[in-house]
Structures are given as C-alpha cells and as structure tokens.
C-alpha cells in the first residue's frame, strides 16, 4: 500500500474537489485477445471485392469490426459465406447510438467453423429509413435474431419471412431498447391478465410507481353493484 506523505501539504491545498479525468485509453496487448479474430486477409479480400461498400475497420482487443454499407450487406454476407467460408451466424443485434445521423447500428457476428475465424460486420441506419434487407436467405439463423432486433429497436427487415415481434406481444406499441424508452415502462401499454376470472384486464403492472394506489390483497374488493349488502 503506498504511503502518502500528508505532512508536507498544508490542509488548504488538499484537493477535495472532484477533478474529471480523461477515461482510460485502450489497453495495449489485451490479455483476452483470441487467435480467431485475426482476420486481416479476409478484410483485404472484402476491400478488394467491394471497394466502395467497405468502410473503416476498427480494431479493439484484437477484434475486427468492419463497417459495411447497409445496402450491400447481403452481397457482402454472400461473399463471406461462399468465398471465405463464414458459414455460421453466431449473433446479430441492434444498437441505439442516440445520435442525430445514422442513429441505429446493426452488428453481425459471423463465424467460420472450419477455419476458426470470427468477424464482425456493422451497418448503420438512419432514423428516417429504418429498414434493411434480411439475411435469412443467406443465414437462416438470422430469423429470430432479426425479429428480436425488430422487437427491440423497430428496425424492419425487408423480405423477412416472419416479421413478428420476438419477446413482446404484438399488442405492444413501443420499442423498449431504444434509449428514450423509460426504464419503468409505459403504463397501460401492456395489459396483464385480470385479477379475478371475470374482471377487467390489469392495465398498469406498476401502479404504485406511477402514482396510483392499488388495493392490497388483504383489502376487500370494491364491488360496483351494491346488492351484496
């Protein structure tokens, strides 16, 4: 434990105010780097094949993230699957960057099972045009992941065979992983089963959080028809 020499400082110079510091910069030689993500040859092949559709490549912790033009994503994936052997889609998901332009991002995590390679493609979508071609024709595994992405961010996938919500019911009208969606949910947006067999649907699952007081379970249920005396 470092020994602090406090006696040399007068009390008035002791910094008790918070000094904002620049966050840590990227770590050199990340101990968790994997050999599978060293895919520079694949990226150069991609750049050769699709010169203008391939954007910058970001390297962090040894992982390569390739920016792809959203309109060419299917072509790029077909090329990666047929020519480069990336035969397995491990993951796909959306990201809300909460920026003015190109607000949404979708990442594709592709794996080459035979040659042990992993690459990540990223496309960006603007809020104005929230749709992109589906990947289900190339990787059938993208089906549920794209549905999840639609469910959470409202990004639709053109040509998807089954564009329903994944987790939330169809009756829900919001997209919960967008940054503006409140953490407590929207009252009344998701009806829950009635408290009694013939009762009304429960419109607000968190009434106390939204300011109203629900009856406790031990309290008498208020009946509207007064013939019970």
């Amino acid at each position: 434990m470092p020994q602090h020499d406090r006696t040399s400082q007068s009390p008035s110079t002791l910094p008790f105010n918070f000094v904002p510091q620049e966050p840590e910069t990227a770590v050199e030689n990340n101990p968790h780097e994997k050999a599978t993500t060293q895919v520079d040859t694949v990226i150069s092949a991609l750049e050769k094949e699709f010169t203008d559709a391939i954007g910058e490549t970001v390297v962090y912790a040894g992982e390569r993230t390739v920016r792809v033009d959203a309109s060419r994503i299917v072509d790029v994936c077909v090329f990666l699957k047929d020519k480069q052997g990336f035969n397995y889609l491990a993951d796909l998901g959306g990201i809300d960057r909460f920026t003015e332009d190109d607000r949404y991002e979708i990442f594709y995590n592709l794996v080459d099972l035979n040659d042990s390679k992993r690459i990540r493609l990223v496309i960006r979508l603007d809020e104005e045009k929230l749709s992109v071609s589906t990947l289900t024709g190339v990787y059938p595994a993208a089906n549920w992941n794209e549905r999840e992405c639609y469910d959470m961010f409202g990004i639709t996938f053109d040509g998807h065979p089954d564009m329903r919500r994944m987790f939330m019911p169809e009756d829900f009208e919001y997209f919960p992983l967008r940054k503006e969606f409140p953490l407590l949910g929207v009252p009344g947006s998701l009806p829950l089963p009635p408290q009694e067999p013939t009762g009304e649907l429960t419109m607000d699952p968190f009434p106390a959080a939204h300011g109203s007081k629900p009856p406790k379970s031990f309290e008498e249920v208020q009946t509207t028809d007064g013939d019970e005396g």
């Binding site: 101990p31 042990s116 990787y139 019911p169 089963p193």
Partner: protein, 438 residues
C-alpha cells in the same frame, strides 16, 4: 383462401388479441380451427376430420419453463409449429444498460439458472476483455473448475427431466441426489446454492477453503461411479433408446444453418466448442476431449452430454491438482479494476474508499470500445457483446444466449414429427427460458 384468415378472432381471443391472432395466422391453417364448434348448418364439427390447433404451454410441465408451442395437428402428426417465447422476458439487456458492470453480475445468475456460475464467468470475462483486465492464475483455475461443476449440474438436470419426460421418474431422483451434492459445493464455495454470484470482475469473490476443496474432490471421486450406473441402466434400455433414436433429426448442414450451438451442434457431427475454438481461462492447458456424434438425433445428443460430463470430471481433477500448487491472490490488486479484499475494506481507510468508488463507478472501459467474449456454457455459446461509452455502465450489452439460438431450430425439428415425441424434442434441445427470453 384459408378459413383462418377470414375468422374474426375478436370474441375468442380476449387477452393480447393481436399477438395471438398473429400466431394463428402464422400457422396458416388451411381447413378449420377447432375453436369453431359448429359448421355452417348448425351441426357440430367432427374434430377428428379437422386439423387441430393445439396450444402447448406456456404453463405446461413438459415445456421446461414458459415455452409456448402452438402446433397444428393432423391426427398425431405435427403439420406446423410456431414457437412463442417471451413469457419470461425481463429486459435483461435494458437492465444491463442501467447498471454498473459489477452490479449487473448477479442478474446473470437468473438467466441460465441451471448453471449460474457459467453465466457469471461469461459476463465477467466479457467485461474483462472490454477493459483489458487480466485476472490472477488461481482465480482462473477456480472459475474454470466451478464452470465445469456447473456444466455437470446443468446436464444432470437435463438428464433427469428428460428421462422423466420419457416416463422414467427414478432417474430424476438419482440425478437430483447428485445435484444436491453440487449445490452443497456451491453453498460452501460461493455461499449460495442457486444464485451463486461468486465471480467478480477481476477475479472471484472468495478463495476456495479446505471444506469446499474436499467436497469437490469427493464429488469428482464418487460421481463417475454413479454416472456409470446410470449408463448401465440407460445405454441399452429398449424404451429409452426407442423413444430417442431418430427423433429430432438434424443434419450437419441443418444445425449450422439454423445456428444451433453446444451439444446440439456436436450431436450432428460439427466439431465446434468455444473451449477449443477460442480458448479462454486455462482451457488450453488442460487435457480433455470434445465428444462428438454424427447421428444428429436425440440419442446422439444424449450420448454427447453424457460424455461431456465425464470430460468435465477430467477437467475438474486437473484443476484440483493445479489448485494445490498454484497459490496467490484470487482478485486483481488494482483498485480501479477489482474490489479490494474485505480485509482492506474493514481495516484501512483507502480500502474503504476504493470499495465505495468501485461500487459507485466501478470499472470504466475506454470510450467507444466494443468487445465480444463467448464461453462454452452447458447449453452452447454464451457470449456478451459489450459497448462502452467510457462510463461505469455499458452503453449496449447484447447477450447471445445459447437457448435462444437452439430454440429457433425447434420449429423445423417439430414439423412432421409425432405429437408424442414433442416432449422428447424439447428435452433434447435443453432450453432454459430464463436465458432464451432475456
């Protein structure tokens, strides 16, 4: 024109009408709908002459949680199946975006609640990759050993419940006896039986004491004998084999296309295991095999999981050996990267400040960093894709859950199968809905 598209569902579907209507439309029933009880002229509809739409779940004991399968039946044959999940959706990813990295770790226990330790390790490794933290050797060995114990625990539940689905209740009791031993281990090592939360960012919470160490040692000694006993009972059991052979067949191309992971992938002859694919912790330093079968049916997956338990015991033994020699801290001693030890917190001012700061802000990976780290959980590839905005909470945490990937294939697997095999197929996929529903 199918009748289902003309049906007015307003009266029949009172709860979440649009959701249920979408599912029924997805089924594309060509003929009739069993809820329609009378034909046009008033005479009752003969159910046997119609295709039947049957809802299995979400509240059904054989669906291993709140899985809902809406199937269209022609007699005993499943014509089409629509799997509806989300009944356990808690918005885990939204929660992660609003918690600090360390705060979110206990939530991972609740995802795959049959192997909580693996989830803790997966989350912590992902954060450590994002922040570039290397953890001490001893912590790595402890994590690895406990993850393998968790794998056995998960496979034991799959086995017991799978056999109970097939009608053999006694094996369920035996596997739960062994799981009880595992729970005793977790209780001793982590302080909790189910929601262990033992892993910390930068190491593990506590070192293994002698009692826990001996419990694991005993378990590793005794367990192969009980496993051999169950194998003796099951491997040549006429009923068990006939219920499983050829059921839920997926070819090697199918499983890759459908994105299945874990034992489901290896049961179809695809040699893919994250422990070999991108070795994490100390998996490149231990000797173990990846069991593979090529048949691609439920029986193949049964053998794969059975053999995986034996390999896990092999890994646990090597970990026990290593842990006897490798001593040292179980957490990083950098206060910006891991919690200080309780000794520091209670007896030094700096320790207390560090503890407070770490709880308040915690580890803050560089702004704009993004990393994906996957582990081989009992169910398959469990990975987290994290994006940092430079603060103590992730900007985006995407969870790649193996049960979700596996369940996707259930729809194709069910098509054309017999109704009675449905529970076997759900069992052989081994889904945990806490994880699939996020």
């Amino acid at each position: 024109m199918s009748i289902i598209n003309d049906t007015d569902f307003k009266e029949t579907l009172k709860f979440w009408p649009r959701h249920n209507e979408a599912i029924y439309r997805r089924l594309e029933s060509k003929h009739s709908w069993i809820e329609k009880t009378s034909s046009g002229d008033g005479s009752p509809v003969d159910a046997l002459e119609q295709e039947m739409v049957l809802n299995i779940g979400p509240q059904h004991p054989a669906t291993h949680g709140v899985l809902r399968c809406v199937v269209k039946l022609d007699g005993e044959t499943i014509k089409k199946c629509v799997v509806d999940i989300g009944y356990l959706h808690r918005g885990i990813e939204k929660i992660a975006e609003n918690k600090s990295y360390q705060e979110f770790m206990p939530y991972t226990d609740r995802m795959d609640y049959l192997s909580p330790y693996s989830n803790n390790v997966a989350w912590c490794l992902a954060v450590e990759k994002l922040a570039g933290i290397e953890i001490p050797d001893r912590a790595q060995w402890i994590r690895m050993m406990m993850s393998e114990v968790a794998r056995i625990s998960s496979h034991l539940l799959w086995m017991g419940v799978g056999l109970m689905d097939a009608g053999a209740v006694s094996v369920f009791l035996w596997t739960f006896q062994a799981r009880e031993d595992i729970y005793a281990i977790f209780d001793e090592v982590a302080g909790a039986r189910l929601t262990v939360s033992h892993s910390r960012i930068g190491g593990v919470a506590t070192d293994i004491n002698d009692v826990g160490f001996n419990l694991i040692k005993d378990f590793a000694e005794k367990f192969p004998a009980s496993l051999a006993g169950w194998e003796k009972l099951l491997n040549r059991n006429r009923i068990w084999i006939d219920r499983n052979i050829g059921i839920g067949y997926m070819s090697a191309e199918d499983v890759v296309a459908a994105g299945m992971t874990g034992p489901n992938l290896r049961g179809s002859g695809i040699a893919h295991d994250i422990r070999r694919f991108e070795p994490y912790l100390k998996y490149d330093e231990v000797d173990f095999n990846i069991p593979i079968r090529t048949e691609g049916d439920a029986l193949a997956r049964y053998f794969v999981r059975l053999d995986e338990m034996k390999e896990s015991i092999k890994i646990i033994r090597q970990c026990l050996e290593k842990l006897e020699t490798i001593q040292g801290p179980v957490r990083v001693e950098d206060a910006k990267r891991a919690y200080p030890s309780k000794n520091d917190v209670y007896y030094s001012m700096e320790g207390l400040i560090h503890d407070f700061m770490y709880t308040d802000t915690g580890v803050s990976p560089p702004k704009g960093a993004a990393a994906y780290h996957a582990i081989e959980a009992p169910k398959g590839e469990l990975g987290f894709y994290l994006q940092s905005d430079g603060t103590g909470t992730p900007w985006r945490a995407k969870m790649n859950s193996p049960s979700f990937s596996n369940l996707q294939a259930l729809e194709t697997m069910m098509e054309g199968a017999q109704m009675g095999d449905m529970v076997i197929m759900i069992g052989t996929i081994d889904p945990v809905l806490g994880e699939a529903d996020k």
